[in-house]
């Protein structure tokens, strides 16, 4: 992909990077700065991108490293996440929508309780639908490590989800 395509990349994937940074634990007040850093890095390395691989896992790698560096700073270790839930179907009844919204809210909270490394693998696989080899390439980790992290991330996520559900007094269905 030529360097001139940066505008296209930015236009089509800024929202994705923005949401990824938020789910990787960057609070709303710093999202803009972190997104800018991610796209500056993307701009500098766009020549290295190879067309045969999907673009989003490659962009996720930049967002992951940016979020990881962000969290290393002591002043950023205390997280406060505003859960933003959407994607509730308009065909559901009000009660169903309420239940679904609560489930999604719980999922967001459970996600925030995961370790960053495992959270990244889980997001790439379960939310973005990438294969494990693609995840390993995007995060620059060995394939076996990616599989191992995915298994542990699933376990951690389900455990956190059930705990939050119990605290809320809701009925979990897993």
């Amino acid at each position: 992909m030529a360097r001139t395509d940066f505008t296209v990349v930015f236009r089509d994937h800024f929202g994705y990077v923005w949401g990824t940074l938020r789910r990787l634990g960057v609070p709303a007040r710093d999202l803009e700065d972190q997104a800018q850093q991610v796209f500056m890095a993307v701009h500098a390395h766009l020549d290295e991108y190879r067309d045969e691989y999907p673009l989003r896992p490659w962009l996720f790698g930049f967002a992951y490293r940016s979020a990881s560096n962000y969290r290393r700073l002591a002043r950023h270790r205390i997280e406060r996440f505003g859960v933003v839930v959407e994607a509730v179907s308009g065909t559901q009844s009000a009660a169903d929508q309420l239940i679904a919204r609560e489930d999604l809210d719980t999922a967001e909270l459970a996600l925030q309780r995961l370790d960053l490394d495992r959270r990244a693998v889980l997001l790439l696989h379960e939310v973005d639908g990438n294969s494990v080899p693609e995840i390993a390439r995007a995060l620059e980790i060995p394939l076996n490590t990616a599989y191992s992290r995915l298994r542990l991330a699933r376990e951690d996520f389900q455990l956190a989800y059930r705990r939050i559900s119990r605290q809320r007094g809701g009925n979990e269905s897993a």
Partner: protein, 238 residues
Amino acid sequence: MNPLEALRNLGPGSPPPPEVRQRVFEQVLSAAAPINVDHTQGAGPAKEGIELLARVPFLRSKAASLLGAWLLGGGMGATAYGLLRPPEVRVVYQPAPMSSVVRPATVIPEAPPPNFVKVRKSDESSRAVSAGDQRPERRPNSEVSTTRGVSLLQRERALLDTARMQAAAGEAELVLGVIKRHREQFPEGRLAEERDALEIQALLTLRRLPEAQELARSFHDRYPTSLLSGAIEPALLP
């Protein structure tokens, strides 16, 4: 809803505000502009060379990293060894020159052979100051000298060993002949004490008692604390 199912239904999340999107885009482009200049003008052939090397699969592998670390470690180890190892000491053989057939000396000949000296390797180049040159200056003295590396003391001892063997064989006359030779060659020899004792023993063997007694008394006066006194004691008995 299943936890993982809920996770899959999260969706992309809330979109960023349009003004934020525009602002970030402008900031990235304005900040990246100098970077572009650096990439195209500053790097030159060096960057091309690095990129060329980076395309070699082996240089990008872990094996290359391990090999590099191994070579670096080996180099550092060799440097440390060269700096910290103790100085090497070698024993160097220096044949004695033929011209020193008779070499005056005042040192005790039983000292370590003079043609073996310890030389530090670093001093090898300056071996002009060799073992021979380091010896104390010798005064002319007939008592001790060397002949082809054999000291006079050794010649003395060889003569007396001959006499001792003849005495053991009962050849007392021959013993006296050898002793006479010794006395002529080494009138002030270092083994004169042993020579005189052997002479007394030989005279006793030949039953030449008056001579033996006279020599024994003289011996006793000259060497009152001699370890050989026991050997000549029979001559002093009445």
